[in-house]
Amino acid sequence: MSGLSGYILSRLGTTALVVVGALTLLFALTLLVPGDPASVLLGPRATPEVIDDLRRRMGLDLPVWLRLLKFLGQVAQGDLGIDFISGRPILTMVLEVMPYTVTLAFASIGLAVAIGVPLGTYAATHPNTAADQALAVVSVGFIAVPNFVIAIYLLLIFSIWLDWLPVLGTGRPGDFWDQARRLILPAASLAIGWVGYIARLMRSSLLEILNEPYIRTNRAFGLSKAKVVYKYALKGAALPTIAILGLGIGRLLGGAIFAEIIFARPGLGKLIYEAIGTRNYPIVQGGVFVIVLLFVLTNLLVDLVYAWIDPRIRANLGKASS
């Protein structure tokens, strides 16, 4: 067990490094983009005095290294700055919309796993049948079609023609079913590509495991097919898919933006997108920072799940840290 806690500590260390690196890059971004943020924010009719005043209040008059240190120090205290347009703390603004994006990302991945894993398992246990070949074509199709095209078609079919699901928005606050119904289409539009991907990945990893000698042992002792596949083979076959999910959640947090725009949902993507339009860098920084943080934490979680599933990884951790 000490191996595992040492491992968590060292992973937290690298996680912190990644986060500081990401913050520095985000800070550098504001230096590289042309145009002075203060004058852009105030518009073309602002007087030089007003612009200077805002520059001072935004700290834009200080040397770069000092601004970076101040920025890092503030973030470390949970202070992502103040939005100069609304005067509200950026952390509050980000936390307000974050649950929508996180829910959307996890609902999409959940949906993709719930559909992709059974499809891949079926394909692997019925290899080279007509169903397997049909699934292969469909999966590749799902992977190839861009998400936003799928989103628009889903909207057209289920909301407009069939009128089964609400079109836009996130639903009435506090009304769980209304919110869940409005989550279906955006989550599905993000999930479909992942369904194909997970189905293909599950199929190939499960087929590989089913050829392992230890599976032949199970069969030589007459264990039922269900026990062999669902208990003994699936656990190992799930590992590559779990690894991909870590990356997938990160991609979804970033990729949620178009779903948020098409389906008119609040969220991190939409917040960042609109802030870029107005060159409101503090919001861009805060939003992207939170996405990076979520991404890094998800991958930490994936690594821990990996170690939890595979005792050999746990054993190596023990050796590495002692």
Binding site: R219, A220, F221, L223, D310, P311
Partner: protein, 320 residues
């Protein structure tokens, strides 16, 4: 002496990337109840294929079985997959060559053994099962069974893993246990220990064993009868002591000459010149003719069929 398993003219064709290969070409073999039958032959001669065919574990889509396999009178060639699965783990079971890969790395020894026992004796309580597992680990010579029971395979040595596999086989108490080169992947001292364990277990284990090995020394020590396989053909069979004392087939003689009291490293270096013909390129005549010191014109023209050469002994050689 009643027969437990009776293989008649078994033919196995496997679909390979290079085309269909006749891996077993008419093998007949009898396994009497309660006896240990050895199966020997160079690698590639079809020993594992025979074992897998017996268990019904050859992939149906890639293999074609002809002939007959009777277990206790029941025909297994053409039996349904469900029937074969019902027989595995109850009437027959198999342990494999490489103990490093024969156990699932993601599950504890306890889990993997318990599932085999649950299948054999579904009525046991959790506590009874645990007691049986501990007793069995102790019996196969695993020290500190309490701790080992909850170990993962990677925490055990190769020898210990093979002991776990033997424990699995004994928990299952099959009528027919197939052991496919159970010591080949182990080093010499461990090989001797495992062989000793198998010998000791004869007292407790009432079933028959098909003991596959290319160590003739082990086969001589452990088995009652022996069958010699060459290029998918049974070339000789009979009581082990007689076959080894007076081989009737030149291939058996050659195998014995290679083995003759040499230790393992030398044994492997000093093999019969030439190679086992590939199952893709077998022509007419005796399969061993290309490597046989006694081969004559007739051997290349006329295939010698296995025939009784004396009481209880069969050989497939024109000169036997």
């Amino acid at each position: 002496m009643t027969l437990l398993a009776d293989l008649r003219d078994l033919r196995v064709a496997l679909a390979t990337p290079a085309g269909p290969a006749q891996v077993l070409d008419g093998v007949s073999l009898e396994i009497p109840r309660g006896r240990i039958v050895g199966l020997v032959g160079e690698s590639g001669s079809g020993k594992s294929t025979l074992a897998l065919a017996l268990l019904g574990l050859l992939p149906a889509s890639l293999s074609r079985l002809d002939g007959s396999i009777r277990l206790d009178g029941e025909e297994l060639v053409g039996a349904s997959p469900e029937r074969l699965q019902a027989l595995r783990g109850t009437r027959m079971a198999m342990i494999f060559q490489d103990p490093m890969t024969a156990l699932n790395p993601l599950f504890t020894v306890a889990t993997q053994l318990a599932d085999v026992l649950k299948r054999r004796e579904p009525g046991l309580s959790g506590a009874e099962r645990r007691a049986r597992l501990l007793g069995m680990l102790d019996k196969v010579g695993i020290a500190d069974p309490e701790r080992r029971l909850h170990a993962y395979p990677h925490e055990l040595s190769g020898g210990m893993r093979q002991r776990v596999m033997i424990a699995m086989a004994l928990l299952c108490r099959p009528d027919l246990l197939i052991a496919d080169e159970p010591t080949t992947a182990l080093d010499v001292t461990i090989e001797a220990q495992i062989a000793g364990l198998i010998r000791d277990l004869r007292r407790d284990f009432a079933g028959s064993i098909l003991f596959i090995s290319h160590s003739l020394g082990l086969v001589a020590e452990l088995t009652d009868e022996v069958a010699v396989l060459y290029a998918g053909t049974l070339v000789e069979s009979g009581p082990t002591a007689e076959v080894f004392a007076r081989p009737r087939h030149p291939y058996t003689s050659a195998l014995l000459a290679c083995e003759a009291d040499l230790d393992r490293d030398v044994r492997e270096a000093l093999s019969i010149p030439g190679e086992v013909p590939s199952p893709l390129e077998r022509g007419t005549g005796c399969v061993f003719a290309s490597r046989c010191i006694r081969a004559e014109h007739r051997c290349r023209e006329e295939t010698p069929l296995p025939r009784p050469v004396e009481a209880g002994r069969i050989a497939a050689c024109h000169f036997a």
